[in-house]
């Protein structure tokens, strides 16, 4: 009996020596690619508002699911002496893909330190080419100061650089609505809108 165990162990050692380079199980093929929409999960019974998604590669434009408001096109907003979403006059395009940041000196909104620290981070991310990261950081800042026009302006800027022109227009418009008397910022928003529209 003892002998049997010894023999077995011997064989086992021999076998181990032969097997040390046996191939480990190949990991399952990567299921996700960065930003890829995977498979067709079961559709829920819930008629949920479509959620915009994004990844590195934008397969779909965020916001394309929206219906166009008929009324909006049929009935333009009342004329106004100080248009909010339309540039007052056609500003000359800055050229290039990126619009320079607007100075926010004249802004009514003062930014708190928390939002400002995120703004700095986002700018660094944007400069480093991490545009999705910059957008995420700005969204986090918007969670802290939802009505700060500078944050919406920077979101517009990042989206413009990414080629999400529809979204850039929306963010820039929203920024201008919060901008109060900050003409500098409004002008910058107008530039973003013009560039985005030109690129569409």
């Amino acid at each position: 009996m003892k002998l049997l165990i010894v023999a077995a162990l011997l064989l086992f050692i021999v076998q181990l020596a032969g097997c040390t380079n046996s191939t480990p199980r190949v990991k399952p093929a990567p299921v996700y690619q960065h930003g890829e929409r995977v498979g067709g999960g079961s559709t829920s019974a819930l008629e949920m508002p479509e959620v915009g998604t994004e990844g590195d590669e934008y397969g779909e434009e965020p916001g394309e699911e929206y219906r166009v408001s008929e009324l909006q096109s049929e009935v333009p907003q009342a004329p106004t002496s100080a248009p909010v979403t339309e540039p007052a006059d056609g500003p000359s395009l800055a050229g290039g893909e990126q619009v320079a940041y607007a100075g926010s000196s004249g802004s009514d909104a003062s930014m708190g330190k928390a939002a400002n620290s995120l703004l700095q981070k986002a700018e660094a991310q944007q400069q480093a080419g991490d545009l999705n990261g910059a957008a995420s950081t700005l969204e986090r800042a918007v969670g802290i100061e939802a009505r700060n026009p500078v944050l919406w302006n920077r979101l517009a800027n990042v989206r413009l650089q990414q080629g999400h022109n529809d979204l850039a227009v929306e963010f820039a418009s929203k920024s201008s609505e919060f901008a109060g008397s900050d003409e500098n910022l409004k002008h910058n928003n107008s530039q973003i809108i013009d560039m985005a529209k030109a690129a569409q």
Partner: protein, 801 residues
Amino acid sequence: MKVMLILLLIAAVPMGTYMMQLSDEITTSFEGQRWAIPARVYSRSMELYAGAPVSTQRLADELNYLGYRKVSQADTTGTWAMNGGRFMLRSRPFTSWDGAEPERALDVRISGGKVSSVADLVSGKELDLVRLEPLEIGSIYPRDNEDRVILAPGDIPDLLKKTLTTIEDRRYYEHFGIDPRGITRAAFSTLVKGRTEGGSTITQQLVKNYFLTPRRDLKRKSKEALMAIILDAKYDKEDILAAYANEIYLGQDGNREIHGFGLASEFFFGVPLAELELHQVALMVGLIKAPSTYNPRRNPENALKRRNLVLDVLAQQGVVSEGTVAVAKEKPLGVVDKKPTGQGGRFPAFMDLVKRQLRRDYQPEDLTSEGLRIFTTFDPWVQKTAENNVQKRLQQLEKQKGLPKGKLEVAAVITTPQNGEILAVIGGRRAGYAGFNRALDATRQIGSLVKPAVYLTALQYPDRYALSTILDDSKVVLRNSGSKSWSPANYDHKDHGHVPLERALAKSYNQATVRLGMDIGVDRVMTTLHALGMSSEPDPLPSLLLGAVNMTPLEVTQLYQTIAAGGYRSPLRAIREVMGPDEKILKRYPLTIKRTIPAGPVYLVSRAMQSVVTQGTARYLLNALPSSLNLAGKTGTTDNLRDSWFAGFSSDYVTVVWVGRDDNKPAGLSGSSGALRVWADMMKPLNPSPLDLVVPGTIEMARVDPGSGMLFNPYCGGKGGGVDKPFLRGYTPYQEASCGSDHLLAPSRASSQRGQPGRGSGDDGHPDFNGNSWDNRRYRPPQKRNQSSDGLGGFLRGIFE
């Protein structure tokens, strides 16, 4: 002897082949992904910065949810101390979707319900912004119900390793997978003493649990031993111990099986493994022998005995000192209350929403096995606060209205207005109960909640309608060929004559609303509803104007989010980021916005919705919450008081509440007497910020005579003065009120200029001049309407007869 040897050699060949097979089997499963790693779902992170709307109560609650221990001096990770409005805490390090947050010693000061400063506790340096780790709110585990949190060898505290080996396998670091001495001892005790004693090493236990079926026979036992030897020979002891610590079954939570010490620590003590103390470690290791018998929640006495036995052994073996063990034995079990069971965790209604969104983007097996980390928008404090206040109010309402107990149900959704993040979902009356999720699945008639859409549609025609426009609230009868006539009455069954548009909405007058909606056109109201976020396609019948359309509370929330954001619709989001196990972002769900309704009309209707609170059907809020909040909202009630709704917003929350019965029987509650009360109870402790509507550039103010809606005439006197009202720029009333007349419809400046020289037509954006915008069937010269306040009735007859 020779024969024996030959026989042995003959036997050795198949034996060797068998062992090679076993070795392959082990390699295959041990070097690949060892376990299906369930996805874990997290709340948002609490952000701490000067000015953050975090009260002392809120921060204390958050720390409790996260399992931080309150101590007198916070000097270890995951502890906090409090002194008045000053919190001293040692935060836990964590990695979130946007980077790592280090462990910090924090000094957070709070006053007046807000954070006044955040500083480093040691250096005193002010910090701009810090975050606490998000709360894990659930996991998505596979069909076999095994849930676990994977620990790397380095994640296992030394104390746990020592306790484990001392109790389960004292010679773990010496034996070669099996322990002949242990087997001999076990065999001896079984044969001589007649009691079964385990001789299995930790390696064997791992093999048994991980590779083999739970059968107990000699064949399996030998296979187990062989595999244990192979495993021990091929892999590092620490790696095997970590695998054991991850594999071991330690408890049951409904269908969910609690595997591994990482999850068990959270499950029993509510804290990460690294923070466990000796008595807690001893309790968990004691559980291995019989997780059910020693279940500390169900059998606390057994558990205590077992724990203390483990502690005694540790002392005997010299792992810890007698004195330390004596102290540990005095401690209570330290187990936290059991969280509600089931896949949904503590917050099943929100988890339900998260899972539905995930299911659209991922295959089920990816969610249950790939170790995804899902970061959501969920705010546990908002959720808990809302939940806490619902039950009491419903009981009170049942008592007050003489309703059978327990019949009233509730649903609610709380979101942020500007970015559409869903903070909380209440799916029913029983908090934490994963039943019918009314917030997502109860499609109910929305009643008067539809009215802001009707008025918003009208206000997009500024030549016809402004807040001050006088509407006719007399009885209205609609006849359509082939169907019965329809004559909706007001809630109070009275006619209110001529009422300003703003008041008609504030008081929720049905007759005026139907006349208004029929003038504008039901199809246009439908268009507005779609622009706001309605996804269904109801028939464009006149009854739609009073809310004969079914929606879920979630869908209603989308509609009101668009209004609260000034006309920018943000698809409501529950998920922000999905991160892979390698801490790489796999998918983001970014903030998107789209202007779907022009800003001016949204501003006007929001002002009217503030009037709902100041002078309309939601006046209750003026006393229930500070009137300085300037809240806006709308009540909703359906036929026979079946559904009671309230949708309202501040500058930081959009909240929709439904109250009613599942059997669709009358609940006896109007929007004001039911849902509004629940809404107020929910919102008050959240301390919402005042609603400060942004005035769009398209708005100008004018002083009007409230009775006629015309420009205020200062010379009339004795009439109580005028009121300042916002108008779309260029559409203020042009005529001053004539003294003594207060019932004329107010023509606006623009419509009076119709056809006047110098005014362009067709291209100035004016709806009446734009041939495409206003079909001729509905076109009616404004002059006619001015002549008679019955004009609307005549117009309706024109359509229906």
